[in-house]
Symmetry: C2
Subunit: 318 residues, 2 copies
């Protein structure tokens, strides 16, 4: 029996994960290494090569017909290079060429990590069946990707959907990206915690000052914690509404650590969305929690590879 | 000799224009009526029928194989209805059915007016040759449309590209749309004039308080006039940068009355764009004045009709 198979890499600032993934999105084999994020570029590439080496040791490897890479951004799919903000040793690093060189010339498809998550949610998660969707990760940062007209929209360079760095407060706080009032500067986990602390929220005896601890406090009624989540929800709503108004999406899927706050985030988000998504054609927009969990990056990278390099064997049979 | 031919309607709050347009975008015949914007829906439709009647009187009419409509929005291409803000008699008005009924069943393609302008600029204007573009009209309102991956992106309902109603100032002034801090609320002509007057600008002896008069004052060095254009430019830059960051465009084309201020608008806009378009993949974004003039709506509506209903006669010959 013929089984369509690709390899997938999910490259972040903390870990580099790899997998062999079949045409149904099942992970047959997986491995990972910590990202030596502060080392030089070749050392980081060495970790990628170890991950690929693990996969190549699998008996299934010979059937892999392409490699999908979802990488922390920015990426540049036109040149096959990556410049992840949190991996300073990689600036315009020729990741596609290097991966192709160590894998015997397999086709390589590169997309940003937000785009990869989106491919996974659209294939098998909360955006399944939606032809026009925004998928987001709200965590240490805020990332995202788009499905338009039933297809993934990576954009020419593979970075489309970077909702974390659109400004919703043009006079707002400076963002590390250089702009002001970006969605990420208001709604990321660290910014939710920072704002709650500045307003007077105090952590419990365990000293936990994460956004998760702020969410617990908000659920218990702490007004500063509630207010900080409401502000984050407002920024997310303005960004989601802007996206819908620009490209017409009907669902926004939200994953990442901050989304685990559940109704502490989603209830004020749905309220705020009514304030900003006002035009008739965006009023039916809904928000939903992500479904794909921590494998989303791998499954999405695999989806991109499967789609970009159609299975000619299967086509020949069909 | 075979000449591809369609009819086009450009429906706004002030006038209803119609034309017969050939496959090269040439206008062979044109006509228009004032929009009876405050009358009931059937009276407004009567003006549309008069325009179509004029066109049908042309000897070329028999060759028209489709009708493209660019209408003030919101529109709904899925139901064929329109609800233009400035035409209260038309709410979910079945414009497509009514036009089809009076034209003997020709195929009808409906898009928003911002999308129509975009189709025209992409076909023959400043966005020609650009696969990923935002085209805008900055005038009494702020509208727009998108080209993505080399094709017009009207969105499912025909309204995509509504950049005038994305919020770039989430705590800002209320906008008539119901949201706050929308691009239009800051950057439209009337808002440029309003803000200049509020800051202390005084019109000349002719009493002209239009944005064009503010532009003249700005060119002469009036600080309040300069500041008002700079604020508009900042809001436009934040909106354009947001669009590029979300979908990856490489050019923003700007037309409409406010764009006639030329460098009074474009110089601060290009400066502000550097402040907000910060990520690597949007730094090459440029802005350019629109080229299509007042026929853009008609030419763009024709382009949509030509594209949506391919010329089967020509295909048969080819």
């Amino acid at each position: 029996m013929h089984t369509d198979l690709v390899a997938a890499l999910d490259i972040g600032g903390t870990k580099i994960a790899g997998a062999l993934v079949d045409g149904d999105g099942r992970i047959l084999q997986r491995t990972q290494r910590p990202t030596p994020a502060q080392e030089d570029g070749d050392t980081v590439m060495g970790a990628v090569e170890e991950v690929l080496g693990d996969l190549a040791g699998s008996p299934s490897w010979a059937g892999a017909r392409a490699i999908g890479i979802g990488s922390a951004g920015p990426v540049d799919a036109t040149t096959g290079t990556v410049s992840p903000v949190n991996v300073p040793g990689w600036r315009d690093f020729p990741l596609v060429d290097r991966v192709r060189a160590v894998t015997g010339g397999l086709p390589v498809e590169l997309i940003g990590d937000g785009v990869a998550i989106t491919a996974a949610e659209h294939w098998q998660g909360a955006a399944r069946g939606h032809d026009n969707a925004l998928c987001m990760v709200v965590s240490t940062g805020v990332g995202g990707g788009l499905v338009l007209g039933g297809r993934l929209h990576p954009g020419p360079t593979g970075n489309a959907g970077h909702i974390g760095h659109i400004s919703v407060d043009l006079d707002g706080d400076p963002c590390p990206c250089g702009a002001r009032g970006c969605v990420e500067r208001i709604a990321s986990g660290p910014n939710i915690a920072r704002r709650a602390l500045a307003a007077g929220w105090r952590p419990g005896p365990d000293g936990d000052t994460s956004a998760a601890a702020v969410a617990t406090a908000a659920r218990a009624g702490d007004p500063h914690a509630v207010a900080s989540f409401e502000r984050a929800a407002q920024a997310l709503a303005a960004g989601i509404a802007a996206t819908a108004t620009l490209v017409e999406i009907d669902i926004a899927v939200i994953g990442g650590g901050v989304a685990r706050a559940q109704d502490v985030l989603f209830a004020p988000l749905r309220r705020a969305l009514r304030d900003y998504a006002t035009l008739s054609f965006v009023q039916r927009l809904t928000v939903a929690p992500a479904l794909m969990g921590t494998d989303a990056g791998l499954v999405g990278a695999a989806a991109a590879a499967l789609h970009a390099a159609p299975d000619t064997t299967a086509a020949g049979v069909g």
